[in-house]
């Protein structure tokens, strides 16, 4: 598979994956671009390994984890902008903003977020997540369980699989600013 073929086939999926990792479309573009430029320069080696996806996914994780412009500070700023009422162009965006899970994801330490995305978005098994993150399976499990605990905490009382939530709202967890800032 040549690099160009790979890009045509996989770039959309990589971008989606990067959006989940970063929580920000612009940053996702930057991270994917940097990753793909690097991948291109060593493509022969990557192609020789035979599983470019695995390799590139790992590169992307590393790129994200080492991305300097993504500190706590910049993330806070990003979130504030999103919170401004004037940024409500269409329905899709409104849903996105109101999403409490998404908001909480942004508060997770980066490694926890990576683990959660690989597991629940990319649908990888723990061992594959560990491979992509370059750490032990136990570490992955710890990241995921801590992340889930934070999410559960932030979302308040667990929504049990009991009564079905009202239609149309089942996926939405409205989150007031107070909830975000309240110390636990």
């Amino acid at each position: 598979m040549t690099f160009d073929e790979y890009v045509v086939a996989r770039l959309p999926a990589l971008l989606r994956y990067a959006v989940m990792l970063t929580g920000d479309p612009h940053l996702a573009q930057d991270v994917v671009q940097e990753t793909m430029v690097r991948a291109q320069l060593k493509w022969r080696r990557i192609a020789a390994v035979g599983q470019p996806d695995t390799y590139v996914r790992r590169m992307l994780v590393n790129q994200f984890l080492s991305w300097r412009r993504l500190g706590w500070f910049s993330r806070t700023v990003l979130r504030r902008e999103v919170d401004r009422p004037e940024v409500v162009p269409d329905h899709a965006h409104r849903t996105v903003e109101r999403d409490a899970v998404w908001e909480l994801l942004a508060t997770l330490p980066r490694r926890q977020r990576v683990a959660v995305v690989l597991r629940f978005y990319e649908g990888l098994a723990d061992a594959q997540v560990a491979e992509a993150m370059g750490c032990a399976v136990g570490t992955v499990r710890a990241h995921i369980s801590r992340a889930l605990a934070t999410l559960r905490d932030g979302l308040g009382p667990p929504v049990s699989p009991g009564p079905a939530p009202p239609v149309g709202q089942e996926l939405s967890y409205p989150l007031s600013p107070a909830t975000v800032r309240s110390p636990r």
């Binding site: 890009v7 045509v8 770039l11 959309p12 971008l15 989606r16 959006v19 989940m20 929580g23 479309p25 612009h26 996702a28 573009q29 994917v32 671009q33 793909m36 430029v37 291109q40 320069l41 060593k42 022969r44 080696r45 899709a92 849903t95 996105v96 999403d99 899970v101 998404w102 994801l105 959660v116 995305v117 629940f120 978005y121 889930l148 999410l151 559960r152 979302l155 667990p158 929504v159 699989p161 939530p165 089942e170 996926l171 967890y173």
Partner: protein, 337 residues
């Protein structure tokens, strides 16, 4: 609804945030092209390290590289006849954008594997309207491979591309190399033209990676310029070979193998490790350095042209695997050790 499902649902909803791929593809293309240009600066010296891979990595290390002892007991892949390895050095020096020299060398391994020849092609060799250095700048190692095959009619079995900084690490992983520094006529020190402007004293000494690379990059100070550089570079290959064989007994090979893996890119049908096994017995004295016979032509720019008939005979000898006879006949084009 469980937290897992809530997560999956949230991810699914946010897929709508994904930006379109097409503009990014264009950006990637542009960025790759820019970075390619940046890495076109090439140092003669870099060439040397790749040869260590081909010539000096003892088979035992190669086995260790894959962590399986069984591999060693299975006979190596069939690999007969003479082998030509094209070695292209590339300097991906950070912060420098100038496209500089590149250097090309054909390592010829005769069918009997009892010796090795390094045939250097000068960077200023004329190729059509360009110099050989330009071919690399424009098209990378693949273009150099095609060009060399056309120019020499020699079949290239393997192309090894190595980067400058990688070579520094290789030398350091070997614990340095012993090099005999040649100074300009009438002087007893050589001052590098590159920062930090190291001073090298004349004579044999141990150099670390950065020093060795600095030394073999110098050419302005010598009367025969690029030829001097080629000579030093081939000396470095032998020094690396010596160091590799010495290190094989005492050092942790994993560090070296890791450095080598980082430093080189290989392209070709021949398996480098199989080749390394066959050539692991070579001593530094078995390696002969040759300059492709050329002469200077001062036109609007200075370039080098093949010096006939020696040049044609050289490549015929490579094709026919009779380099030993050619070397005997043309001592002037053989570099001193």
């Amino acid at each position: 609804m469980t937290i897992d499902d809530a997560l999956r649902a949230s991810f699914a909803r946010h897929e709508s945030l994904t930006p379109p791929a097409e503009p990014l593809r264009a950006r990637i293309r542009t960025a790759v092209a820019a970075r390619r240009r940046r890495r076109t600066r090439v140092t003669v010296a870099s060439v040397a390290a790749a040869l260590v891979v081909a010539l000096a990595v003892p088979a035992a290390w190669a086995g260790g590289l894959f962590g399986d002892k069984d591999r060693q007991s299975t006979p190596p892949a069939e690999l007969n006849g003479p082998v030509n390895v094209l070695v292209v050095g590339a300097d991906r020096h950070p912060g420098r954008s100038v496209a500089f020299a590149d250097m090309v060398m054909v390592a010829h391994l005769p069918a009997d594997r009892r010796s090795a020849y390094l045939v250097s092609l000068p960077r200023d060799l004329r190729v059509g309207d360009d110099k050989l250095s330009q071919v690399y700048a424009d098209g990378g190692a693949a273009a150099v491979t095609r060009t060399v095959e056309e120019l020499t009619e020699v079949r290239i079995d393997l192309t090894v591309e190595i980067d400058f900084r990688g070579l520094v690490r290789v030398v350091d992983a070997l614990g340095g190399v012993e090099l005999c520094v040649e100074t300009p006529p009438g002087e007893d020190t050589l001052t590098s033209v590159h920062p930090p402007y190291r001073k090298f004293r004349k004579g044999c000494q141990k150099l670390d990676g950065a020093e060795a690379l600095d030394y073999v990059r110098q050419r302005m100070q010598y009367r025969d310029g690029d030829y001097a550089r080629i000579r030093h570079q081939q000396q470095l290959v032998r020094a690396l070979l010596t160091a590799a064989q010495r290190a094989g007994l005492t050092k942790d090979p994993r560090k070296l193998v890791a450095a080598l893996q980082d430093a080189i890119q290989v392209d070709g049908k021949v398996e480098l490790l199989a080749l390394a096994r066959q050539t692991s017995g070579l001593a530094p004295a078995d390696v002969t350095g040759v300059r492709a016979p050329t002469r200077l032509v001062e036109d609007t720019t200075a370039y080098l042209e093949p010096e006939q008939p020696a040049y044609g005979e050289l490549w015929r000898a490579v094709r026919d695997d009779k380099l030993a006879a050619w070397v005997g006949k043309h001592p002037d084009w053989v570099n001193p050790r």
